[in-house]
Symmetry: C2
Subunit: 348 residues, 2 copies
DNA sequence: TTGCTTCGCACAATCGATTGTGTAAAGTAA
DNA sequence: TTACTTTACACAATCGATTGTGCGAAGCAA
């Protein structure tokens, strides 16, 4: 910037203000500065700017990990929306570990991020480390795995609705003994999926049966294990709603291994729309989580808060509607033309 | 920092030097400063530090996208290694578009990153925009999709070896007319996979047959289309080596649709170890790309260059060995016990 | 005690951009 | 022409941490 100022025989003040379109700079001068800046391909030092202004153009993300289908897609959406708004994103993985989550937050704070997007680690039971953000005036938006309540900003999928839609669909297929593979209940998402399951059953006049609910850590093996358990019961289920695709798949494998036909003897539905659900045989009915929209919605909300800095901002919770994807693993009633499944993931 | 200095009745100089363990500060004072810093939970402003020192603790990543299996896993490895070394990573997506790749670089430069990791966009044919990095003294390491040559730092999978291993394996299974679904040849990875295919054929004394090579954009549909084309030939192939899992899967679907048995009538091998390859029927033989190792290796190399700043650093190319994963889609000879496939992806 | 080295710390400039305040010059109204 | 407003820009302080230089005090040998 000093070079530009020298060459134009003006002060750095003028250059700075010309570049930021300040009213006190004449249009002629603005043009000259802009042209020269382009000529020299001038790029402002954002650190210096951030230091002086106290606000950077950086957003922080803290996710449990960047693998599988869900988080990468959300991050994809976040980065897309953020870069469109002129922000860069710093990404941190908590690896499902509170301590690392805490460290990530510290790291983001010292990097002077303008705001933070968080999806809680599985081991986070105490939320005090997030207070530091508030104390420093750094806006926070949770997504997917959130702290529940009216006082936080959050973007979530309506997991209850997802659980409801899946269970309702299984009921519609004529299933009456629907088992549920539940996930860790301290995470809002799994709790809500289970709630949706309950709601659909109640609506159908079926009493919930604790025998039909198995708590798992969502892994494929545990799904298989749960299935063994369920099939050993005197009156085994005629359908399974898994809180995740991996455990649903494990359950399906075990059922097939034991000679059951899917969906005729046992209908199966999962959750998350993992890409592999499309290529299993049969393809697994699942719930799409609107990953990319979730990322974009989270960024929109965060930027809104950032722009409202100073003003009081009433915390808001954005709820996205899940989409039920009906596939052969649960389709008992309607005989559909066998569609060739097309993976819409990225090829490589 | 000013607060600490005031409370201890020393200068900020002393505080700063005590915290960075400078020799000119006495051990007693160091202890006092450290203790007070801990008490007040002091966190240095990394922007200010970076501004003064001219070097930040930020690394930039530019990838085509963050979806599918490959890039998220690499990014996962990068973030893991970087955070262990005290760095944060800023992530940018080029969306397979040169213009956006260019913008991403500018953005990272103005964020004053200490180094950049790049995987080229599919549309990048001209590499001049990377010169700006060199001009500004910002180290650059390419990974996977690289600019070829001895003069750049790069971490790649030995794609040629991968292609060789796959083709060799198919030959070992008794296949003699092995088709190849090739990818865009201006990307090193696809060119090399094809080269490995050629090498294996030559080694086996088989002349390459242009009729058996179909150029695709790696999508599932194009794989199916290619298969139709190949099966319509007078002497159709008895095996297919796809440059990617998606197109290999497309090919397999089409073959099955036309009544061929896999692997008996047609053996199939893909590339990338996409998670879905484990659950197709039959599961698809593929090549694991060592995604996470690639990310970690790239960070190691980049940090080495950063630390060697000033010193002359001879560009280095790191080559990772691919791993052939033999699965039923290509296993003609040996009858193996049917293993239950276990997805080791992240559940959700 | 003198002279010299070493230790421990402070002063002040610096990184690059921003911004409140001050001030000429130009323009306007009376 | 005088008085006043507006325009266009410069000065200098500032954000928070770092660092070359300088200086007093303590330690040591002679």
């Amino acid at each position: 910037m000093a070079d530009l100022a020298r060459e134009l025989n003006v002060s750095m003040t003028t250059v700075s203000r010309a570049l930021s379109d300040h009213f006190s700079i004449g249009p002629a001068m603005k043009q000259k500065v802009l042209k020269l800046a382009k000529k020299y391909n001038y790029q402002p030092n954002r650190m210096a700017s951030a230091l002086r202004k106290g606000k950077s153009k950086l957003l922080g993300i803290v996710v449990p990990y960047i693998e599988g289908r869900f988080f990468p897609s959300v991050v994809h959406g976040i980065e897309k929306a953020a870069s469109k708004a002129g922000y860069n994103v710093i990404i941190c993985q908590s690896n499902e570990d509170v301590a690392q989550e805490r460290r990530s937050l510290d790291s983001l704070l010292s990097a002077q991020v303008a705001g933070v997007l968080v999806s809680l680690s599985r081991t986070t039971l105490d939320y005090r480390h997030f207070d530091k953000l508030r104390a420093r005036g750094v806006p926070l938006v949770y997504f997917d795995r959130v702290v529940e309540g009216e006082s936080v900003n959050a973007v979530v999928l309506d997991d209850r609705e997802g659980g409801y839609l899946s269970t309702r669909h299984l009921l519609d297929q004529g299933c009456r003994r629907i088992a549920h593979l539940a996930g860790p209940q301290h995470l809002n998402i799994y709790k809500n999926r289970r709630q949706g399951y309950f709601d659909a059953l109640r609506e159908a006049g079926l009493p919930p049966d604790e025998e039909l609910i198995v708590y798992t850590d969502m892994q494929q093996q545990q799904g298989a294990e749960a299935m063994r358990q369920l099939l050993a019961q005197p009156s085994p289920p005629d359908a399974v709603f898994g809180s995740g695709d991996y455990c649903a798949f494990g359950a399906m494998q075990e059922a097939k291994r034991q000679g059951l036909r899917v969906p005729d003897d046992l209908a199966i539905a999962g959750f998350s729309n993992e890409s592999f659900t499309l290529v299993t045989e049969p393809a697994i009915t699942t719930i799409d989580q609107r990953c990319e929209e979730m990322g974009q919605a989270a960024v929109r909300l965060l930027l809104e808060i950032i722009e409202a800095q100073g003003t009081l901002f009433t915390p808001r919770q954005v709820v996205l509607r899940p989409e039920l994807l009906v596939r052969p693993s649960s389709q008992r009633r309607v005989e559909v033309a066998e569609a060739v499944p097309v993976l819409n993931g990225r090829m490589y």
